[in-house]
Symmetry: C2
Subunit: 393 residues, 2 copies
Amino acid sequence: MPLPDQPERALLPAGFMDVLPPHATCEAETVERLMQVFAAYGYDRVKPPLIEFEETMLAGSGAALTKATFRLMDPVSQRMLALRSDMTTQIARIAETRLGHRPRPLRLSYAGQVLRVRGTELRPERQFGQVGAELVGAPSRTADVEVIVMAAEALAAVGIGGLCVDLGAPSLVPAILAQRGLDAATAARLNDALDRKDAAAVTALAPAVGTATADLLVRLLAAAGPAQPALEKLTAAELPAAAASVRSDLIAVADGLAATGAELTLSVDPVEGRGFEYHSGVTFSLFASGAPGELGRGGRYLTGTGEEATGVSLFMDAVLKALPPPARLRRVLLPAGTLAADGRRLRSEGWVTVSALDRAAEPGAEARRLGCSHALIDGTVVVVAAEPHSLTP
Amino acid sequence: MPLPDQPERALLPAGFMDVLPPHATCEAETVERLMQVFAAYGYDRVKPPLIEFEETMLAGSGAALTKATFRLMDPVSQRMLALRSDMTTQIARIAETRLGHRPRPLRLSYAGQVLRVRGTELRPERQFGQVGAELVGAPSRTADVEVIVMAAEALAAVGIGGLCVDLGAPSLVPAILAQRGLDAATAARLNDALDRKDAAAVTALAPAVGTATADLLVRLLAAAGPAQPALEKLTAAELPAAAASVRSDLIAVADGLAATGAELTLSVDPVEGRGFEYHSGVTFSLFASGAPGELGRGGRYLTGTGEEATGVSLFMDAVLKALPPPARLRRVLLPAGTLAADGRRLRSEGWVTVSALDRAAEPGAEARRLGCSHALIDGTVVVVAAEPHSLTP
């Protein structure tokens, strides 16, 4: 029914949406299925609150999210609160404090909604679901492999196969540049050129950066793509000790993934660092072949108390877009007056039962009107519609 | 590990909490189990956003929640936003607008977090889960019965039996008083006396209210308690026509519940109206024998567009407190180097697998340290702990 006197009542703010049938069920079932796989790998679920004190939520690596985070005044504490825009900093806080006494490695998983002040071109939503897992107190490169394989298994469990994993090492370039002592302007121009994968611009900076370094960076730019040739090119490069250590981590993780027999398409981008500013080791982005967006990402970092950790976050908006369409449920109309026990029996057999509330209507017509493919007539479930009515609005 | 330089970092605002293992898993599984029962009754899940425009969220029956609702400025639209403090008004909005074209009766279900500016003495939490269902466009009293029976079946499915349903009719007293034309001060004193179940105070108001009306209200106060005697007393009372119609609804719903054979303990409180200010027909509160708080509530109301509807909301904080303790999972340690296929096989058999990331530790000791009851040793799952270590912090 229209609302003539409240024409704007149904409008939501940009970036917020109502998820309607059957998508809301699909989303919830997908989240729980992903979480079940994490649970089967020994990751214990935690649920931090949607709101924390601003100074807690935006401490440490959370500071990068300051501009993205809604803030509001708490009339109870008279302090500023923040609505979470990311859950990973909350999980790190729980690992450090509430679960600081638990043995390491500590495996935690989480699922929840996050809110952003502004959407981006790639992700216009201002509310979306985040599902993830963190492995804390785990310096071994086996930990990185575990998290990636588990994420792939979880995505496969919800029907997303053909996963592509793009490995990165955002600390590689900083390790190469550490001893060059570049001025801030040069460093900014260089990072910009590397982000744009612009080899000519990197070469043009050779006078400021040093010819050998510029050449090395151009070689690293060329070492992006399918894992095997990329890692061969990377192996052939001469690197300073700190950078060589980062490279050996990257190779170890790629080798570890291959050894598990997981069906993953591996690629490597040794220069990419955007969005991984607080990562300290191997990182990864997850893509499905045929789906446009990044499904998730993760990698190695140091917690606020200096523990080695790695983790993965899946972005539910992207995951849901990559899913196969949901299966239809079998809906049966129960005429008014159907015995309660008959309804219970049908539900226990997997039927969705829709009760007619009045005796007036003819069961077959009423079933079709209410999107049921079947009706219970004279105690028997009969087909009343060749194809159930669409339940999408 | 303590955070000596950030002593307050772990503190959350009053009313907000971290839900830790195993409680977070228990909560999520309980929500999904409840929602599965609603789905089996044909209730289609919707997921409204956490944030809406203030004027939308607090329109109509939402106005009662104005003081309870966090508000914040949207830098994108330059309009005030509200963080939902209740989901039922959102569901009504969706039913009226986005799903206004869907055939009636429309069955919708929902689950999500709600936020409140202040906790109450009974419910100090400022964030809690709400799970519910709405049956829109359903004037029949069969609809009230369906919602109550379904809520009971959902609670039984998560292990909460022995449900007590307290039926109410908050429009009964207003229907009696409608023709008395009481002044505001008298009406307020009378409602206060009725809320306190204070028969003497009601009698004392007889000069202002009228002796016959005061006597009738005292009789209604006495007609609270177990359903059968209460409804007998109510039936014996002489009521004006509008009030008699409310009473007949109450009796029809009680009779309908009895006819379904659902194992419910029914009580009636014909005078209680607190918290049901926007309800127009039969209401109910759900309690579990032995659990302190109200598990949920619901009842009949009119949507903003005047559709007859009824619904139920379950309060997850109270539901979780009434649950039996969660079952322990079987956790098995996989020594470092375990074949990926062996891990997959064990997980598919229902095991939680916890991988050792280094070869150093002796599997039995490592398993016990990580809360595993079993370890995979030489290809065989062996018991390593008579009783798994507690996983609660």
